[in-house]
Amino acid sequence: MLSLPPAKVALPIVATPNGMRYRVLWREENMPYLEDLPEQCPPANAKDQQFGPAYRILPKAEPAIEHFYSYSKLGLTKPGGVDECRYRSCSMFTNILQARAIATLPKKRATSTHLAKVVVQAGFGTSWLNSKTDHVDFWPYDTFDVAAAVTEVVPV
């Protein structure tokens, strides 16, 4: 069964004399994730939010939805020390130097060729941004549109 988290959709309600500025209201709506998630996942500190640019390490120059799959969805073994929720997240980095350095680590560099520059809008998925380490855990909704999110692809 697909997880159905409460998602929030922005509704513009007020136009001010200063121009088109909207006060944002939210309505709850169930949005399914790209894959089944366990209870309490995403964690309480994660939210549906806009962020970016962030960088996703890619195995080729043409980004596809599979490149945003978690290790769980790819059917890869869960290593020790990783919880079930993180096993189903997709890593991104808000610091390009860090993304490049990590893409050159032995296991990553065996498959990594490019970095996708990603701008995530509210409604794309739930994320937890660690502002101290620049790492993002992202749980995309099943409506996540790679073409809309990726603004550029650069070689590692």
């Binding site: 020790g80 050159t104 680590l105 560099r109 101290k132 790492h135």
Partner: protein, 339 residues
């Protein structure tokens, strides 16, 4: 030759996570073991290559003084292993020794520093206070290195004395300081080099000097990170030394001459012992030297030197020589404290 054995280690923390752990920390009791994910044809496995690290190297890595590749390639005493993280049970993995040279495909590239970690390790914060030195005139690289080394030596010495007297510093750290004072023969130059090197290594993380920025121009600036209280002491000590340099130098000369005439310069602390007829005189002369310099507190040095007046005097004299060298750059007008 003794063959390395399999080793059981505890998982301690993930350091870099990118869809899966890429770099992790393990512990064998207190020994840090750093492990890096490596490619493997068998996708059911999560293979890692691991290396043991000394506390000093691990700390250097965390402080950004060396990169990850260094830990896997440079230290002579490291042991290397491989293991499958998917096989971890009860927070432990069993590692197989890896013999021979690590292939390039298992090694990280240069310049992967701890600042790229994606996970936070609970660490004491590093120093955040800042001192700006104004530099002027002409410099060559070795001279700048020499100045910074001398400045660091004095700073580390003052920090050690302060830490020894502080109730907030852990007994373990204090033991480290006393070990540094008590385990050198102080017979020749190497003892002093090692002594100051160790003092620099034993400075608390919150006090450790860091070179933040060098703006080379005439005049330019050097921004140094450290502890504000210690910077204040440095700012007092160096001008005071320059102000009273003649008297301080004469006192140093007097003590040096006495030790030389009595063939004590080449005598180890152990050979000298504690109850020599000359002990009291040496102690008084060394104390006079510290009083003139205003640092270090002689009583503390004496206690740290295990109440051996010859060792205490030699340490105070070594402090004087470094202070004299560092102060010379200020006297030359090439370095000054900013406001």
């Amino acid at each position: 030759m003794k063959m390395p054995r399999k080793r059981r280690v505890k998982f301690a923390a993930t350091l870099i996570f990118a869809d899966e752990p890429q770099l992790i920390l393990l512990k064998d009791r207190d020994i840090p073991v750093v492990a890096l994910a490596v490619p493997d044809d068998d996708l059911t496995k999560a293979m890692f290559v691991a290396t043991t690290a000394t506390h000093k190297d691990w700390q250097s890595y965390l402080d950004g003084n060396c990169d990850l590749r260094y830990l896997f390639t440079y230290p002579k005493t490291r042991h290397v292993y491989t293991f499958d993280l998917a096989e971890m049970k009860n927070g432990e993995v069993r590692m197989d020794p890896f013999l021979g040279r690590l292939p390039e495909e298992y090694l990280p590239e240069s310049r992967v520093f701890s600042s790229f970690h994606t996970e936070e390790l609970p660490l004491a914060p590093t120093a955040t206070d800042e001192e700006i030195l104004v530099v002027d005139g002409e410099w060559d690289m070795p001279e700048f290195g020499n100045f910074y080394q001398r400045y660091s030596d004095i700073y580390a010495f003052i920090a050690a004395i302060k830490n020894w007297n502080s109730a907030e510093v852990a007994p373990e750290a204090k033991r480290g300081i006393s070990t540094t004072f008590r385990t050198k023969p102080f017979q020749g130059g190497f003892s002093y080099v090692h002594f100051f090197q160790e003092l620099n290594e034993r400075v608390q993380r919150t006090q450790r000097l860091g070179l933040d920025k060098i703006q080379y121009a005439s005049p330019g600036t050097v921004e140094i990170r450290g502890e504000a209280d210690l910077f204040v002491e440095m700012k007092h000590l160096i001008p005071q030394f320059l102000l009273d340099r003649d008297r301080i130098s004469k006192q140093y000369g007097k003590l040096h001459q006495f030790l030389s005439q009595n063939r004590l310069l080449k005598m180890t602390g152990e050979q000298y012992g504690k109850d020599q007829a000359t002990s009291r005189y040496i102690m008084l002369q060394a104390k006079e030297l510290t009083d003139l310099m205003t640092e270090p507190n002689f009583e503390t040095v004496f206690v740290l030197a295990d109440e051996n007046s010859l060792v205490a005097a030699k340490i105070v004299m070594a402090f004087y020589r470094r202070l004299d060298e560092a102060a010379a750059y200020f006297a030359q007008g090439r370095v000054s404290f900013s406001n």
